[in-house]
Symmetry: C2
């Protein structure tokens, strides 16, 4: 049986595409993307998933209470027998209900070296703070923003000439690499969580 990935996105979903390519190339062995769900109509990531022949679902979130919405999404993920949920630019916090439905099996990627610069526009935050190194982080998701145990990080140097856009572009390259690395680690199962630390066993 292949491991089944469910992807949640709200926008272009470039991290979804990187995972899809790495699944297709065999870099995530014995896995497939079972469903791509967007909370926004017209998210470009949905079109890209369709172009790859991957099943998609748009479940609009507008006006719904968090858990009411999350119950709809979890129902679809269960229907599709998803083993692992990957957030790829999904612009919503998850409810405790959602988190409890996939314990230690929801991942998110964030374009900073957490705990620095959680939240929106992390690359702009990093530039404005004047850090010389930023990066990206893949972490388990809990109910808090960009806050669960960290699985993989990688540093990216900030250049004097950087704008938020040029820095974001260099970080994005690394995001595409480490998200796949994190999925491999989680599917491999050779780790344990000690407090907040994710360590190999």
């Amino acid at each position: 049986m292949k491991k089944r990935i469910g992807v949640l996105l709200s926008g272009r979903g470039s991290n979804f595409e990187a995972i899809a390519e790495n699944v297709a190339a065999g870099h995530i062995p014995n896995a497939e993307i079972a469903i791509v769900i967007s909370n926004r109509e017209g998210a470009p990531g949905i079109e890209r998933a369709r172009a790859r022949g991957i099943e998609t679902r748009v479940i609009p979130s507008k006006g719904l209470e968090r858990e009411v919405y999350d119950r709809q999404v979890v129902a679809v993920l269960r229907e599709k027998q998803v083993d692992l949920v990957c957030l790829a630019g999904f612009m919503r916090l998850l409810s405790p209900y959602f988190v409890a439905a996939f314990p230690q099996h929801i991942l998110n990627i964030h374009p900073s070296l957490l705990p620095s610069f959680p939240g929106l526009e992390a690359q702009r935050q990093a530039l404005e703070h004047g850090v010389k190194w930023s990066g990206c982080s893949v972490h388990f998701v809990d109910e808090n923003l960009d806050a669960g145990p960290i699985i993989v990080q990688t540093p990216v140097e900030v250049l004097d000439t950087d704008t938020p856009e040029t820095l974001a572009a260099r970080i994005l390259k690394e995001e595409h690499r480490i998200y796949t690395e994190a999925v491999r680690i989680v599917f491999g199962g050779r780790f344990r969580i000690e407090g907040r630390r994710v360590v190999g066993v």
Copy 2:
């Protein structure tokens, strides 16, 4: 005229020693350490400075209000015609009076990639948070804790097997390198501060 460095420390002063060695080796051109000041009797860094033939002063801080103490220290630094103040494990916040006395000429080093993990035991904080990369930062000092504009940072990977001590030892090696780099940048003067960003010109 050589540029004159004043060092403030409270303990062993390993970063002071690294700077002293790099000054002696000519890696910080045209500079000398004019004075090493400790706020604690018996700080090992004071003995080490004496062994190098560098002038030292112990100015006990115990029981003194911050600015009362800082006025004593600033008076000595001025007497010694210090151009640049380097904090090297100096366990006190500086008053606005001290900061204003050496505008953009007080440096500190901190064993994390700021703004992550300011304050005490940064390496233990990093381990407990579960980050995969930490590092160190040299920054201009303001009245706040580990908070001024960052001059140099470098990342250091955190290993699954690390203890606070092993991580601290690897970070310390990088501290010794980047503190000298930061002093060179500040003495070189080829930078400007835009908001919080220190950028080359």
